[in-house]
């Protein structure tokens, strides 16, 4: 987490000072971008969400308490923007055709791109396997997906995820449980051993 800006800068921001806002943007831009990118995993989408996040912060500046952490406040806004981007991406995917399970290929045709995973039967190529997993992951509801991304891929502590999402720790755990269950079910449907 970045060093917290001084209180005077935060007070000026809360009162609508554009220069103060730009100074905060310059200080936190990279950190917020990296956080969003960890969730949405597409640089272009992350940039859109970053602009949206700082715009929401500026719009909601009067509600910001300068005695609190700007970084934490900004991270929560950024998380919500990233979540909205995931929802928008999923809505766009509704128009695409549903994927059918990929037929397995004989082991002799298995790709040599990368080592096969320990639990994989070695019948899907590595590329197909990764593609199927990404597809299964993309089918998770956004609220579960964001938790699964941060917990399983980024391996962040549950408490940190709860703080970023603004939900209780128990909610994070239950969403992670549901996400894992749905992910396993989808991988099974796609013909991947779970």
């Amino acid at each position: 987490m970045q060093d917290e800006p001084d209180g005077e800068l935060l007070r000026r921001f809360a009162h609508g000072d554009r220069d103060a806002f730009e100074a905060l943007f310059r200080q936190f831009e990279r950190e917020v971008y990296r956080w969003i990118l960890r969730i949405v995993r597409e640089p272009g989408v992350a940039e859109d969400a970053l602009v949206e996040a700082f715009w929401r912060a500026y719009r909601g500046r009067a509600r910001f308490d300068p005695s609190r952490s700007f970084g934490a406040w900004m991270r929560r806004i950024a998380t919500n923007c990233a979540l909205d981007q995931l929802k928008a991406t999923q809505r766009r995917r509704w128009v695409s055709l549903p994927r059918e399970p990929v037929g397995r290929v004989p082991p002799s045709q298995d790709s040599t791109r990368g080592e096969p995973g320990p639990a994989m039967p070695g019948r899907l190529t590595t590329f197909e396997l990764a593609d199927n997993i990404r597809h299964a992951f993309a089918k998770l509801p956004p609220k579960l997906r964001i938790v699964a991304t941060l917990a399983l891929i980024e391996e962040l502590p549950h408490a940190e995820i709860a703080d970023a999402l603004g939900v209780p720790l128990g909610t994070v755990k239950s969403r992670l449980f549901r996400a894992t269950r749905e992910l396993r079910a989808e991988l099974t449907r796609l013909g991947i051993q779970t």
Binding site: R30, Y33, L37, R41, T126, L129, I153, T194
Partner: protein, 69 residues
């Protein structure tokens, strides 16, 4: 597949995205967005239309609306 194996499979499928920094200076976009006039969403318009319709049908509800505002 154990939880650890599931994590390993996910790590293989989801490489860390690059680049780590925004492609350009996004401040101009943020500043332009902040200067835009407030936009009404369909939800806002729907709520406004619903409130107007309700008040037209039940004028006494103005007190209820006033209480919530």
């Amino acid at each position: 597949m154990t939880d650890d194996q599931l994590k390993e499979v996910l790590h293989r499928a989801f490489a860390r995205p690059e680049p780590d920094d925004p492609g350009g200076d996004l401040w101009t976009q943020v500043a332009a967005r902040c200067d835009e006039a407030p936009r009404w969403s369909y939800v806002d318009l729907g709520l406004f239309a619903g409130a107007c319709a309700a008040l037209a049908l039940f004028p006494d509800w103005i007190w209820l609306l006033a209480y919530h505002l």
